[in-house]
Amino acid sequence: MSSLKAAVSVYRDIEKIYRLYALYSGRVQAMEPHVKLIDQSLAQHLRGKDADLDWMQFEFLMTAVQSQGENVFISKQPETTLSYALFCEGIRALLISKNISAREVLDWCTRIRKYFIEIEKPEGSLLDLASVLWKNPHPHLRVYLFNSLLELKEVDPAAEGLELKNETGGLLDKDDDDLNNTGNNSKDEWHSRDMDWELPSGDLVFSQMDAEEDLLKDKLTHLKQQLSDASINDRAERIMRFQEAEIEALKNEIETYDQNHVEFNLLVQFFTTLSESSDATSLGNALILENLKKMASSIISRFHGGLILFFLKRLQDYQTAKGSDQVTESLKKSLMEALAKPDHLRLLAEALTDASRYKIAKQLVVYLSRESQSHLLDFLIDQQNKAGIQHFLMMLIETDPTLDQDIFQWGDQRLIQVLPVLQTIPWSARSRFLIRCLRHRSLELNRAALPIIADLPIKSSEAMALYEKLSAHDRKILVDSFSNRPVLAEWAPFIQQVIRSGYWSLDNSDIALAWARAAFRYLGRRGFELLDPFVSSRKFILWPKFSVEREAALIAALQIKEPQLRAQVNQWAAREKGLFFQDSELKQKLAAAAR
């Protein structure tokens, strides 16, 4: 699929969502089926096997939308479109990440719709839409503002002589071709660093500038000399020229708001001040604390990897240096509160299955309260996100030594959901946990644990008590687990007891067959000994005395693959093939085995 085709489809999906809100007057339930469809479409075009872009950019013209210079949307009645609204309000472009969901687009469009409703009111907001969207909290959407620096760039000074001044008073100089060319390729894009989850520190700016510096050295030195010599005289016009590279860098910075940049700088200042302060109760520190708490919530809501890790690292450093005092406890609590918000838990749930965010999610799980853990699990269960559940459980296993007890606070239903996933994870306390599940008062939970019961070293008496309370259906699940799981010697006495007591054939022939298989698998030759009376006993010489048990034992025996038991099987086959009154098919199989 071409990227243009994908861009056309993605932009149409965005327009659809914008209209949906108006069509259904914001009723979420009514919009839901459409949103689901659009979500699938976005996934296909942005994350499908042919999708190769991390970000897709749309430029807004008056009656059209372009992506990579091609029209992707045109409307004859622009007033009804999102693109026209954004154009009029001063939005130059929209950048969307491949990880966007229809839900996030809906939230964003809702914000825009509500803005237009609000400004129609007499007491409506004075804030303009561009400013509202400039500080938009949606992590996968970014708007670029129209500004006069764009016009500076569009001016062609070659046609006008050395320099031009546009109506806003800006000057542009393009006579330094070398500098301009370098600027185009290595333009300062530090502000877009959050796209790659980089820490928004000045390091990146610094290193980029260093790289540029060698190439630009002569030109920049020249420029600096001009600036340092500057005085207001007739040469001023020459000195006040702009290099395209610098305008480009400033334009990039101005036209989009970088909350990460603001928060990173504040975090650096706040943590530094905290660590240098001797008086934790000072007024300034109180404000720092208050701000850090707010920021914790903000950076989690955007789930910016670099910032979250930076925050946690500085918190740990501070804790190490100052000890576990009120400040760290208070910040940890605020982290827990921030994480407890449903939207943030949903983000965390998504991050658990995203390779690039897994590391961050793992560090954050530590700050989840028991209650939040349960809610996070609910999100994962609702999404049927097995990988997410698995990652989440693995993190808990690593970080919570008493998980086998704490986990029961989640409630029966959640435990039932996670049990199948748990059996795939190596966990030293798993047996303890499963045994608790089997002993639990909830029969439903007992049942959920049955398929993996064979992994547990439980006592024969306990197993018997459990077996007696199960239905025929659940008994079958239990006995089947003896065939599917690795052999655990502790189960041998129980199996022996079941065969001896005759419990094994009480329910139906399927269960009897499963028990016979279990007996051979766990008891080996001893299994033959135990089952032989059921096989060899006769009624009036020509009839089997225990026809069901005999048949089950013989079928199970014929399925044995272990070479060390083959002699025993052959012996049975030779002896039993001659019995007159038995199932003909079994008779043939026995004859074949005897041969």
């Binding site: 149409r12 659809k16 209209r19 108006a22 069509l23 459409h34 469809l37 699938q40 008056m62 007033e79 009804t80 026209y84 609204a85 154009f87 309000e89 001063g90 237009f116 804030l127 303009d128 561009a130 400013s131 503002l145 129209f146 500004n147 001044k165 546009n166 008073g169 800006g170 000057l171 520190s201 000045g202 700016v205 500038m209 600096k224 600036l227 500057a230 005085s231 207001i232 016009e237 006040m240 702009f242 610098e246 400033l250 909350q259 603001v262 700088n265 504040l266 650096v268 200042q269 530094t272 001040t273 302060s277 007024l283 300034g284 520190n285 109180a286 404000l287 720092i288 701000n291 920021m295």
Partner: protein, 479 residues
């Protein structure tokens, strides 16, 4: 399967949805602009006007179908358009349309349009064509009205420009703009002064929220804000800090407006500039705990956003080589808000009178800033100088012909930003003029091929020796 369902879902794009009045009003202006623009390029018989007319009709009918709109009353005041008394906020990308229409209507002495009922395609076409062709010198509104009556078209009425001004006596007319700006200046100055003097007790003064004042300020034209800076540039204050705060706020907002940043961004920047002296008040400029303690004390009266707080914390830091500064080994990059505020704040600091301190003339201050190239962001500084001009508005200058003048506005020719429009205050023989006289320094003596007048040098208020009240007089037109 999904494709089919998606195709069905595509019908959403054709379904009728309610449209915002603001968008429709904008479209109405846009389509009118397109129509009038075509009249300058094509003959009226050109088929292009059919579609242009249909477009105007489409947007007009959309507007008239809005609930509660029985007719459309389009007026303008200053740089603002009003539809049925509701102000249309200028939208950055459509400034040129607004300006074009304002000039178009003003040149025809039209102060407003009334659409009493939805016109037919034909009557609208006649009406728009009449506006475009009308003789500008006569009484255009009356002339158009007479034509409409003779054609039996009754859906429109025109308001002559003078009539519009008369009608707006009970509203705030253009002449009141200066008063509005002055009152906003005073309100903000009082706000800052009370806050700085009283800190946590400032709350008890029941001050008007600062954001409200900034929201009002952003509605004014960039030129009106700059004129206020001209008027106050010749003042002397005993306690300059609050004035520096407000001046910086006005200046940075006007500057940001010139960069066409959206209103909300500009007011946030203005708020940060207004708060910038908090970093100075705290004793040791730039020390975070002290600055934050001050912010904390003012929190009930003056709420700052994260970005404003960062700007207050950062603006005191020199730009250095790259704008990157280091704190405990961690590098941070100064935000552009902080860098803009630094330029404006330093300019104000240098040019605002303070007893016992050297006061720079505006052009000297700019030279000083340019000389210390590592002090401010060079790109923003150049943008600032380009915007403010080599002789910023308010600068007092002596002309080579001997007159004393004050810079009134930027150069009429953008290529000659050393040749602003000045307001001549004193004649060459040192006598105060009866009224200040505007003079465009870019005017040429056609015979000699040289400029009529040149700036000789900038001068101080003391050298100019002009009574303070004289600056308040409105100058008479450009000669």
């Amino acid at each position: 399967m999904m494709n089919t369902t998606n195709q069905n879902d595509d019908k959403i794009l054709d379904a009728p949805v309610p449209v915002s009045g603001l968008i429709l009003a904008t479209s109405f202006l846009r389509t009118m602009f397109q129509f009038f623009r075509q009249t300058e390029l094509h003959d009226s018989s050109n088929a292009i006007f059919v579609q242009a007319n249909q477009e105007v009709l489409r947007t007009l009918s959309g507007l008239m179908m809005l609930p509660g709109q029985s007719g459309i009353h389009l007026t303008f005041k200053g740089e603002l358009f009003f539809i049925n008394g509701v102000r249309l906020r200028p939208q950055p990308r459509l400034f040129y349309i607004y300006r074009y229409l304002l000039r178009y209507f003003r040149s025809r002495k039209i102060g407003g349009i009334k659409v009493l009922a939805l016109p037919t395609e034909k009557s609208l076409s006649v009406f728009l064509s009449l506006i475009s062709k009308v003789d500008k010198e006569e009484n255009p509104a009356q002339e158009i009205y007479n034509h409409l009556v003779s054609e039996g078209i009754r859906e429109f009425e025109l308001i002559p420009l003078s009539g519009q001004l008369e009608k707006s006596t009970n509203e705030q007319g253009e002449g009141d703009v200066e008063l509005i700006v002055a009152s906003l200046y005073q309100r903000l100055q009082k706000f800052v002064e009370v806050c700085f003097d009283n800190m946590e007790r400032a709350y008890s003064f029941s001050l008007k929220p600062v954001q409200e004042s900034l929201n009002e300020l952003i509605l004014l034209a960039e030129g009106d804000i700059v004129q206020m800076l001209r008027l106050i540039s010749v003042k002397r204050y005993e306690r300059p800090l609050p004035f520096r705060a407000v001046n910086s706020c006005f200046m940075v907002m006007a500057w940001a407006r010139s960069l066409r940043l959206p209103a909300g961004v500009v007011t946030e920047l203005g708020g940060a500039a207004l708060a910038h002296p908090i970093a100075i008040l705290s004793g040791k400029p730039g020390t975070v705990p002290e600055v934050l303690a001050t912010i904390q004390k003012l929190k009930d009266t003056w709420q700052l956003t994260d970005l404003q707080r960062l700007s207050v914390l950062e603006w005191t830091r020199p730009f250095g080589k790259t704008g990157v500064y280091e704190t405990q080994g961690v590098k941070s990059y100064q935000h552009f808000f902080s860098r803009m505020i630094r330029i404006v704040a330093l300019f104000e600091e240098m040019t605002t009178y303070e007893a016992g301190k050297r006061v720079f003339l505006p052009d000297e201050a700019l030279a000083e800033l340019l000389k210390n190239s590592h002090d401010c962001d060079p790109t923003l500084l150049k943008l600032f100088v380009n915007w403010v001009g080599v002789y910023p508005v308010g600068s007092l200058v002596q002309l080579q012909s001997g007159e004393v003048a004050q810079v009134f506005a930027g150069a009429s020719d953008p290529l000659r930003f050393q040749r602003p429009i000045v307001s001549v205050l004193k004649s060459a023989n040192g006598k105060l003029l009866e009224r200040p006289q505007l003079l465009d320094l870019s005017e040429m003596n056609e015979k000699l091929g040289v400029y009529k007048r040149n700036i000789k040098r900038s001068i101080t208020l003391e050298e100019a020796n002009i009574p303070p009240d004289y600056f308040q007089l409105n100058p008479v037109g450009v000669t």
